[in-house]
C-alpha cells in the first residue's frame, strides 16, 4: 500500500495547537480552508509573521467537502443565453485565469513535497441534444481563443473515444488539461508546510469580533483587535478567508460583501474496477462525475442541499439524490448496479459575477478578503497573488482591479 502524506506525522502538533493564542501578530488569517491555509503557506514562506485562526478543524467546510475537480472548461453556470461579444471576452478572461491555475497545479506536489492525488486525466463535457451541441461548440471556440486545448467529438469518434458513455449522446468536448486532486489532502498539507515555516495555527477558535484600533496611526502599529473564543489577538493586517461566512465579519467593519450561498449535494459510491480516467460533465444539466483513485465514483454537479442552522451541516435531500443519479445514469448507464454509499453536502459561496473577491479594502486599510467561487481550482493561485501583494513594498502591490473587494456586485 502507498504511504500516506508526511503531513500526518505530527501534523499541527497537538500541544502547539492547545497553547494560548499569541497576543499579537503581523497578519491574522481567519479561516482554515484552502484559501486560508495556502495563504498561510505563501506568507510564511516569505517570512511574514502569521497566525491562522479556525473555529473548527482545518479544511472541514467547502475546502474539505468539494469534489476536487479542476474546472478549466467553461461550465453550465457561467453561460448565459445569446452571449454578446463582451460576455464572450469576459469568459475568455476567466478561462485564461484557469489556465494559469493549471500551471500552479502542475508544480504543487513538488512545491509541497507530498502526494496530493494530482492527476491531469482530462475532462469530458457531454451534450445530450442538438441545442446543447450548439452551445458546446460556442464554448469550445471561446476556450480555444483563450489558449485552452479542447476537442469536439461526435458519432463513432465519440463512441470510440469514450465507449462507456451512452451511445446516443449528441456529442462531447474533451479538454486534456482538466484533472483533479484530493481535496482532503491539499489544504491540510499547505497547513502543515506553513506550520513548518513558522506560521501559528489555532483551531477550535471562533472569531466573534474584529475591531479597528489605532485608526490613522502609522502602518507598523497594530490596527486590529481580533476577539475570539480563545482570547484576543492584535494585528497589523487581517485576512478574512472565511468562505461562506466572509460577509458576516466584514459587516462589523461596515463593509458589504455581496455573496450568494448555496448548499451543494454530493454522492459517493462503492468502488468498482477502475475504467473512467476522465472527469465527466454535462453542458446542459447539473452533473460532474469522476472515478477516484480509490475506485469510488463521486457524483455531484450543483444539486442543492438543504440549509440548516450552523453548526448543523446542510442536509441532503432525496430529490437531489435521485435526480442527480438519474443524470449520471443517462450519461453512464453502466453505473446502474453500483451501490450508493453515502451523500454529503457543503456550503458553496459565490459572487454574482463569479469573480474572486481578493485584496485589501480601501475603506478599511489593512483589512483583506480572500474568497473565490471556483475555490478549489483557483484558491491556491489567488492566495499566491494575495501573498505577493501583501509582501510587496507598501503601495507597490497590484491585484486585478476586477477583484476589488469594495466593488458592488448587483
Amino acid at each position: 500500500m502507498k504511504e500516506r502524506s508526511p503531513f500526518l506525522v505530527g501534523y499541527l502538533d497537538n500541544e502547539t495547537n492547545q497553547s494560548a493564542l499569541p497576543k499579537s501578530s503581523d497578519v491574522v488569517i481567519i479561516g482554515g480552508g484552502l484559501l486560508g491555509t495556502s495563504l498561510a503557506y505563501y506568507l510564511s514562506k516569505s517570512k511574514v509573521e502569521t497566525v491562522l485562526i479556525e473555529r473548527d478543524d482545518i479544511n472541514r467546510e467547502a475546502s474539505g467537502t468539494n469534489a476536487g475537480s479542476f474546472h478549466f472548461q467553461i461550465a453550465l453556470h457561467q453561460l448565459t443565453p445569446n452571449m454578446s461579444e463582451s460576455e464572450k471576452r469576459r469568459l475568455a478572461d476567466e478561462v485564461r485565469l484557469q489556465v494559469d491555475a493549471a500551471s500552479l497545479w502542475d508544480e504543487i506536489e513538488r512545491e509541497l513535497d507530498a502526494d496530493l492525488g494530482v492527476h491531469f486525466d482530462g475532462g469530458i463535457m457531454v451534450a445530450e441534444t442538438e441545442d446543447e451541441m450548439r452551445v458546446l461548440k460556442e464554448k469550445d471556440a471561446i476556450e480555444k481563443e483563450a489558449g485552452l486545448e479542447s476537442h469536439i467529438l461526435v458519432g463513432d469518434e465519440m463512441r470510440t473515444f469514450a465507449p462507456y458513455l451512452a451511445p446516443d449522446l449528441a456529442g462531447i468536448s474533451f479538454c486534456p488539461r482538466e484533472g483533479h486532486a484530493n481535496p482532503l489532502l491539499v489544504g491540510p498539507t499547505y497547513a502543515y508546510r506553513a506550520w513548518q515555516n513558522g506560521a501559528h495555527f489555532r483551531t477550535g477558535c471562533d472569531v466573534t469580533r474584529i475591531e479597528r484600533i489605532n485608526v490613522g496611526g502609522d502602518l507598523k502599529g497594530r490596527r486590529f483587535r481580533v476577539v475570539t473564543s480563545r482570547g484576543v489577538i492584535e494585528c497589523n493586517r487581517v485576512v478574512n478567508a472565511t468562505g461562506a461566512w466572509a460577509a458576516e465579519l466584514s459587516s462589523q467593519l461596515g463593509l458589504r460583501i455581496p455573496l450568494g450561498l448555496s448548499g451543494l449535494h454530493v454522492n459517493v459510491t462503492e468502488p468498482r474496477e477502475y475504467f473512467l480516467k476522465s472527469m465527466v460533465q454535462h453542458i446542459g444539466r447539473r452533473l460532474t462525475l469522476k472515478q477516484t483513485h480509490n475506485n469510488t465514483f463521486i457524483i455531484g454537479g450543483g444539486w442543492p442541499s438543504r440549509e440548516e442552522k450552523f453548526p448543523k451541516r446542510y442536509s441532503n435531500t432525496w430529490s437531489s439524490t435521485a435526480g442527480n443519479l438519474a443524470v449520471a445514469l443517462r450519461v453512464l448507464p453502466m453505473l446502474a448496479d453500483v451501490k450508493l454509499l453515502r451523500t454529503w453536502s457543503g456550503v458553496w459561496a459565490f459572487t454574482k459575477d463569479f469573480k474572486p473577491i481578493l485584496g485589501e479594502s480601501e475603506k478599511v486599510p489593512g483589512y483583506h478578503i480572500a474568497m473565490v467561487p471556483t475555490g478549489f481550482t483557483l484558491g491556491p493561485m489567488v492566495a499566491q497573488m494575495l501573498s505577493q501583494y501583501m509582501t510587496a513594498t507598501p503601495g507597490k502591490g497590484k491585484l486585478p482591479s476586477e477583484f476589488n473587494i469594495d466593488r458592488e456586485v448587483a
Binding site: M1, R4, L8, V9, G10, Y11, L12, D13, N14, N17, D57, N59, R60, G64, L76, H77, L79, T80, P81, D131, E132, V135, L184, L185, P188, T269, E270, I283, G284, R285, R286, N294, T296, G302, K312, R313, N316, T317, W318, S319, T321, A322, G323, N324, L325, A326, V327, A328, L329, R330, L335, A336, D337, V338, K339, L340, L341, R342, T343, W344
Partner: protein, 479 residues
C-alpha cells in the same frame, strides 16, 4: 407509489411487531417495513428454504414465542412490506427501496423505529482473518442452514448472550471446544443484585442454568476473566490466543494461551442500529454495556427529534435489553400511539399499559443487574497493535490512524485524512474503535466523541434502483 398510514413501523422484530399489532388492534391503519425477506427480526430467525423442521422444540421457546408474534402480525390488517429497506426519512416521508418494486414512499402521523442491533465488532490482531465470525453470523448459519462453520470452534465473548449462544451452538451440534468470558466470576454482591431482581425473570434465570448445564454435559470448559487477543493462520484461522484480564479488561502479559482452532466465534454483545435516529437528530445517552450511544426517550418510547412526526424508539435499536423487553416496549408505544391518535382513551391506555410496564420494569431490573456483572470495559478497545487493520473496508491500519488522532478529536477528520470509515459498512465496524483510540490518546471519555455526520442512505443501495429521471433540476438557461 405513495402510501399513507396512521402509523408506520420500521423493523419487524419483536419490538416492531408488538408496536404494530397493538396499534392496529385499536383500528389504526398501520404499515410495517422490514428489509428482510421474512418478519421476526433477529431472534425469531426461521429456517432457510429447503430445510424442514423436524422438532420445533429443538429451536427452543424463543422460536415458539416468535411464531406467536408472527401469527399475530399475519392475522392483523397491517400492511406488510418485507424486502423493503428504509433509506432515509425526510420531513414526514419515509423513503424505501425494494429490489423489484423500487422506491416507495410512506407518510404517516406517527413513526415507530425498531431497527434492532448488530454484533459488536472487536478489533484485535487477526480479527479480519477468514474463520473469525460474529456469534450472530454463526447462529444464523447454524440455525437456518444447519451448517457448522468449522470443526473446532473457539468461542470468545461476554454477557448472558455469550453463554446462550455458545450453548445453543453446542445443542445444534456445532463443535465448540472452549468458551471464554471477559468478565470475572460474579462476586457475591453482584449475584445478590441479580437475585433481588429475579422476580418475573425465573424463565431467563432458568435458561442461564440450562445453558451452563449444556456446556458442562458436553465437557466444554467455560473460563471467566479471559479475553481474545489474537487470531493467526495462513489464509484462515489456525490458532487463537487469549489472556487473563485486569479489572479494565486489559490483557495481562504472561497469561497468554495459544490453542489450535479453525473457527473463532465472537459474542461481545451488540451495538444498536441508530443511523435513523441520528439522521433525525434525536438526543442520545451513553452506556457502553448496552452498546454505547442509546437514543433518549420517555417511558412510552417517545423521542425528541427535529422531525415533524411523533417518533417512537423501541427495542434493541434503542440500547440492547433483550427480546422480552423489546416486545414490552413495542406494546407500550402502540398503546401511546393509539391514544395519541384518538383511538384509545387515556384511562384505558394507562390501564392496559400496567402489565407491560411491570414486565418491562422487571426485565430491565434484571438486565441492569446482569449488565453490572458483565460490564464492558475499555480494555476491549485496546487489543489492536500498530499493524492491526482497524477499517477493514479500506484496509487502514492502526499505525496510519494514530498520527491523525494526535491532532484531532473528531472521527470525521480521522476519516478524511486516513479513509478509515469510508467503506461499504458505512463505518459500522470501525467507528467506535476509532472513537476509543481518540479517547485514550486525549484522555477523555469515549462518550464525548460523537459519530461522524449522519447522512443518507442509511444502507447502501444500487444507483439504478433509486435514480429518478422525472426529477429535474432548476435549469440554468438551456431549455
Amino acid at each position: 407509489m405513495n402510501t399513507d398510514h396512521d402509523l408506520v413501523v420500521i423493523g419487524g422484530g419483536p419490538a416492531g411487531i408488538a408496536a404494530a399489532s397493538t396499534a392496529a388492534s385499536f383500528g389504526l391503519r398501520v404499515a410495517i417495513i422490514d428489509e428482510r425477506v421474512t418478519f421476526g427480526g433477529q431472534i425469531f430467525k426461521r429456517l432457510g428454504d429447503g430445510f424442514d423442521l423436524e422438532s420445533p422444540e429443538a429451536l427452543g421457546k424463543d422460536y415458539a414465542r416468535g411464531a406467536r408474534l408472527i401469527q399475530e402480525l399475519e392475522q392483523s390488517e397491517i400492511s406488510k412490506f418485507n424486502s423493503t429497506t428504509v433509506l432515509t426519512i425526510e420531513d414526514n416521508q419515509i423513503i424505501t427501496s425494494h429490489p423489484v418494486d423500487g422506491v416507495r414512499r410512506f407518510s404517516c402521523k406517527a413513526l415507530v423505529i425498531a431497527p434492532g442491533a448488530y454484533d459488536r465488532p472487536v478489533v484485535f490482531p487477526g480479527w479480519t482473518l477468514p474463520g473469525v465470525m460474529t456469534a450472530g453470523a454463526v447462529q444464523t448459519l447454524v440455525k437456518t442452514q444447519q451448517i457448522s462453520p468449522g470443526k473446532r470452534i473457539f468461542f470468545a465473548g461476554s454477557g448472558p448472550l455469550a453463554l446462550a449462544f455458545s450453548a445453543q451452538l453446542i445443542k445444534y451440534g456445532a463443535p465448540v471446544f472452549k468458551v471464554i468470558e471477559s468478565a470475572p466470576f460474579p462476586s457475591p454482591t453482584k449475584l445478590l443484585g441479580l437475585l433481588s431482581s429475579i422476580k418475573g425473570n425465573w424463565d431467563l434465570a432458568g435458561d442461564a442454568i440450562r445453558y451452563r448445564a449444556t456446556l458442562l454435559s458436553h465437557h466444554v470448559p467455560f473460563h471467566y476473566g479471559r479475553i481474545i487477543t489474537k487470531a493467526e493462520g495462513s489464509g484462515r484461522v489456525e490458532a487463537v490466543t487469549h489472556a487473563r484480564v485486569d479489572k479494565d479488561w486489559n490483557p495481562i502479559k504472561g497469561t497468554e494461551i495459544v490453542e489450535p482452532a479453525d473457527t473463532l466465534c465472537l459474542g461481545y454483545g451488540f451495538f444498536p442500529s441508530h443511523e435513523l435516529f441520528r439522521l433525525l437528530d434525536c438526543d442520545f445517552d451513553y452506556d457502553e454495556t448496552r452498546g454505547g450511544f442509546t437514543v433518549s426517550k420517555d417511558s412510552w418510547g417517545l423521542t425528541k427529534s427535529s422531525s415533524p412526526l411523533a417518533i417512537y424508539a423501541v427495542g434493541d435499536g434503542t440500547g440492547v435489553t433483550g427480546s422480552y423487553s423489546a416486545e414490552a416496549q413495542g406494546r407500550l408505544a402502540g398503546l401511546h400511539i393509539a391514544n395519541h391518535l384518538g383511538s384509545l382513551s387515556t384511562q384505558e391506555r394507562d390501564r392496559r399499559s400496567k402489565n407491560f410496564r411491570k414486565e418491562l420494569q422487571q426485565r430491565n431490573d434484571f438486565q441492569r443487574a446482569i449488565n453490572k456483572m458483565f460490564e464492558v470495559k475499555q480494555g476491549i478497545y485496546r487489543l489492536a497493535e500498530a499493524n492491526t487493520v482497524i477499517c477493514r473496508c479500506e484496509s487502514v491500519r492502526a499505525k496510519e490512524i494514530d498520527p491523525v488522532i494526535d491532532s484531532t478529536c473528531d472521527v470525521s477528520v480521522v476519516k478524511s485524512y486516513s479513509r478509515a470509515g469510508m467503506g461499504l459498512c458505512q463505518a459500522r465496524n470501525c467507528q467506535r474503535q476509532i472513537a476509543a483510540m481518540i479517547a485514550i490518546r486525549h484522555k477523555i471519555s469515549i462518550s464525548e466523541i460523537p459519530f461522524q455526520t449522519p447522512r443518507m442512505p442509511v444502507k447502501p443501495v444500487e444507483i439504478g434502483k433509486i435514480a429518478d429521471p422525472s426529477i429535474r433540476e432548476e435549469k440554468y438557461f438551456i431549455q
